[in-house]
Symmetry: C2
Subunit: 148 residues, 2 copies
DNA sequence: TGGATATGGTCAAGTAGCTTGACTATATCG
DNA sequence: CGATATAGTCAAGCTACTTGACCATATCCA
């Protein structure tokens, strides 16, 4: 990078990500899911395909197993997930979404599409797609973590 | 947005922002500032130009005045900021960076430049600049907040 | 095969960073 | 001037996390 303020570019990335998360969360909340925080969405994204163990969830969210287990307790209590026996490991338990959990995930996907609509309007579909492609090249993989 | 997974695009934004913040924080830590968290950098960015009051800092970080005051206590204790009398308001106190705070801010700017170097290598200077310009158009302003 | 070690999960206790509530001092408005 | 708003602090409480200890099961290897 050149002599511009590289820090402000980093800040713009954070602001963009925050704006998306805020918009999605607000939309999901407005559709009746009032007992969730944004982090739960990241948990759902790990659980949605085939479920996951507490340890896998912990790794995905970059927290301890204990913290992940507490979150699962909360989501069970609120009706979004269930603990099942693990088919291949008697130590483990498989955490899977309930129908309510899946419905919430669908609502989040609709919310994400709605949140991106003004972006497409501002930049154009084509440029937005290029933006996404560029970001995918530089964004690190790995666990999802809170920013600070 | 179309039928693609809009949520994963949002996740890419978060991952990109997190990657930058992580890299900057790790670099700053490696240069001897081991008692800071990323959020302190956002505080510094508000304090750097001319200082700020606790209330202004609280608004910038979207926390209560009490939380901002506690953070200032901590930063005073660690030698990064000072409380001064406010020149125009006897109720208020102006929080300003110490020389150590300014040195840390410079280290963060260098770290941000270093963190963006691989991005420029991957995408090219021109495309990175376009990316930044696009983001600036869609990123919301307002206070900086943790993601969850 | 069986004993050592690693892994999945939970229980319990402690902690850091935030919150709400109450209060004082100073500023501003009418 | 008096009423109200704002800057800041003190105190207490909450919550999402942590560390540490522990048990059950799986895996590795002599």
């Amino acid at each position: 990078m050149h002599s511009d303020d590289a820090l402000s570019l980093a800040a713009v990335f954070l602001a963009a990500g925050r704006g998306l998360v805020d918009a999605i969360h607000a939309d999901v909340t407005a559709h009746g899911y009032r007992d969730l925080r944004p982090v739960h969405g990241f948990a759902f994204s790990r659980l949605a395909p085939d479920g996951a163990t507490v340890s896998e969830l912990a790794a995905h969210l970059d927290v301890t197993k204990q913290a992940a287990s507490q979150m699962v307790d909360e989501l069970v209590r609120k009706g979004y997930v269930q603990r099942r026996a693990h088919p291949a490991d008697a130590r483990a338990r498989l955490v899977v979404l309930t129908e309510r959990g899946r419905a919430c995930t669908r609502a989040a996907e609709r919310a994400a599409q709605a949140a991106l609509r003004p972006w497409a309007a501002e930049l154009g579909e084509r440029r937005l797609r290029e933006l996404a492609a560029d970001l995918a090249r530089v964004a690190p993989g790995g666990p999802l973590r809170p920013i600070w």
